[in-house]
Symmetry: C2
Subunit: 212 residues, 2 copies
């Protein structure tokens, strides 16, 4: 029946409204500083209303997950212009860093916070599809490199995992402020970015040196 469909659409509309409010508040003031009551206030509903559309706060978190991954994949779109595999891999690393620094809270949501991930496991579905796709892009790029003679003697999956770990480590140490504490460069932001770049370039140098 068309009636129930229309109703469903309306329900979906409010659901999306909640998500949009949550997203704007999260990116505006961070996760810790955003409450269910804040979101409710923004959409001008009572806090309890939200629970008719989302199971709990983690459910909202997880819904933002998907959008976050889409944003990450958007950042990767520049890679289509880079035909050389190793150059593409290098550009991918830079894009990943860019994404992590310019969307710190979203990055945290995707790769640091445990709650939304637990929600995936709890709520039946193994829906981390977009995340897996992002990893697949890395894996394929690594394998494309290998076909051109790079990374001889390396298992593509293990190497991809390592590359991801390295990028993740760099990004989280950077955004959490731990990099700044260990480095002598404690003041200016430019120095930190530079430091991070130097570490990244060292990694690229490592990968490059693996040639036969």
């Amino acid at each position: 029946m068309g009636v129930t469909e229309r109703k469903e659409r309306h329900k979906e509309g409010l659901k999306k409204e909640i998500l949009a409010a949550a997203k704007s508040l999260f990116t505006e003031r961070g996760f810790e500083a955003t409450s269910i009551r804040n979101i409710a206030e923004k959409i001008e509903y009572s806090p309890a209303a939200i629970y008719s559309y989302y199971k709990d706060k983690n459910d909202i978190m997880y819904s933002l997950h998907q959008e976050g991954f889409k944003l990450l994949l958007n950042h990767f779109q520049v890679l289509n212009n880079v035909s050389h595999p190793f150059e593409r891999l290098k550009a991918m690393g830079r894009a990943y860093i860019q994404f992590a620094i310019h969307n710190q809270d979203i990055y945290k949501l995707l790769f640091v916070m445990e709650e939304p991930l637990a929600h995936v496991a709890a709520c039946g579905g193994e829906n981390w599809d977009e995340g897996d796709r992002a990893f697949d892009i890395l894996l394929q790029t690594v394998e494309a490199c290998q076909q051109q003679g790079y990374f001889k003697g390396c298992d593509s999956k293990n190497l991809s995992l390592l590359i991801w770990s390295t990028m993740h480590g760099l990004c989280t140490l950077r955004t959490s402020g731990h990099l700044g504490h260990v480095a002598a460069a404690k003041d200016s932001q430019t120095d930190l970015d530079q430091l991070m770049n130097l570490a990244y370039e060292t990694f690229i140098y490592l990968l490059e040196s693996l040639d036969p």
Copy 2:
């Protein structure tokens, strides 16, 4: 006067008692699940009493910081038995992983959480001494490797930063559960450890391949 000294000792005693209670609760049930009221209950004082000994919760966190670093440095003591620099570096990586996995909450406290770090910056003193010392051990090991011909063409500081980032990335992706989600090995714990080890060994392989 000896009286005030005794008083100070008593005060210090209670301060340490608070810290011990906090530590046991943190490691027992995690950070998020431990409140000031829990700690107060454990030492059989009122919650407000704690604020006579610690400025706030982050102050307690930061005090555990120091102990955490001492524990990490203890894990590094096995390195004294490894004279060959590169073998020492390899052992250091393994020790770091061991520490991160067997002390997940403490690791989080030291290298993931932002609040205790902000406390360091806020409360004047630049006291991340023990942390810097841990990094110095890495730096010195890297430089010792270089003196034996390893890592030619690399800046020791940049490379140390990279190594730290890689290890940190591996450990956090592992403990947060993100590694398990991307990998096909979603069930058994042994597989995850194995996967992590493979990524680690790939990294070692990379470093080894840097020989002249």
